[in-house]
Symmetry: C2
Subunit: 202 residues, 2 copies
């Protein structure tokens, strides 16, 4: 019997290094699928449909919501963003582990529907370190950075809903942490369960 | 702040390969301490006090029980066997992970007292494989082997109390499983918890 894959949900404040960690993880881990989000905003230069996002019209997105086709979704700046359910369930059935990189709100929506979902929060070693990383990226002004830090502090209050916390001291260690979580979670599976729960023949 | 070590309890049927797995694990894993049991039986040839067992008299053992010095204990063939509490707590405080290799009954006694204890059950891939391994050891007659198999089947009924099941397909994989469990369990620790639970200053 093929073992079903794990549904892993990764969140963490902007600047914590999630993107780099996931890129490295996908390079070394087998049978893992990174979920592609759906969005109603226009593609930016270089963004490819089905790679960066599934781009769809608001009408299409609304139809997906109505037919329960979205695992979670949110509206931000008058555009919808969400996680299409079908590809995720297909990969899980095939035995692939599926990774979703989403915001805390979406993660909690998923946990309500799939109690088996494994919630992992990626953190910077300290808030000071996060600030330094955001400044170092050199892509935001100081006001935006302060906003992001405030948001990070808000998100940290919800970290108790996450089963695992990965501190991004180094990318290498953070990737090993997530690989260990995946491997350990697979040890919750009991191959003898079927024979145990069946009535014993005499 | 130093992180407290993990208390890991390993059980599994006789012949499943626990001993070899633990030997390999101790060779590759850092900061890990294998608990030494106490026993009232006489040392066998080559057995060293404090290495194979802490050998003690029945009076000493009874005094330890009375002063709550045993984490768990059992009586078998008119002799006491048990796990002294003090060295384990000391190692945990120092930040060492502690491994206990004990029977299912003792494991459940420990889980009642220490809910944080991590229970790992080591299994052979199949019961047929277990039988083959017991025959292969060539140390027991067929009646004893049948007794051990019967006992293994009884133990498997209690496997639901264990958080993790490690299938001993190969020693190498089983060791990696346990290493992953240790690493993943350490990700349950929240370094921000202290600041969160303290009242915020305004």
């Amino acid at each position: 019997m093929k073992q079903r894959g794990l549904l892993l949900v990764i969140s963490g404040p902007s600047g914590c290094g999630k993107g780099t960690i996931l890129k490295e993880l996908l390079a070394v881990q087998e049978q893992i699928y990174l979920s592609v989000s759906a969005a109603t905003r226009r593609p930016r230069d270089g963004e490819v449909d089905g790679v960066h996002y599934y781009f769809m019209s608001k009408e299409q997105f609304q139809a997906e919501i109505d037919s329960d086709g979205m695992l979670e979704y949110t509206c931000y700046c008058d555009n919808y963003y969400g996680t299409p359910r079908k590809p995720i369930l297909e990969h899980l059935e095939q035995g692939d582990d599926v990774i979703l990189e989403i915001e805390v709100d979406g993660a909690l929506q998923i946990k309500k529907q799939y109690q088996d979902a494994i919630l992992i929060f990626v953190m910077p070693p300290t808030l000071e370190e996060l600030e330094q990383r955001l400044i170092g990226r050199n892509t935001e002004d100081s006001q935006t950075i302060q906003k992001r830090l405030l948001r990070a502090k808000e998100e940290l209050k919800l970290v108790g809903h996450y089963q695992y916390i990965v501190i991004n001291q180094t990318i290498e260690d953070a990737v090993k942490d997530i690989q260990s979580i995946i491997r350990a979670e697979k040890c919750h599976y009991n191959p003898f369960l079927n024979c145990e729960t069946q009535p014993k023949s005499k």
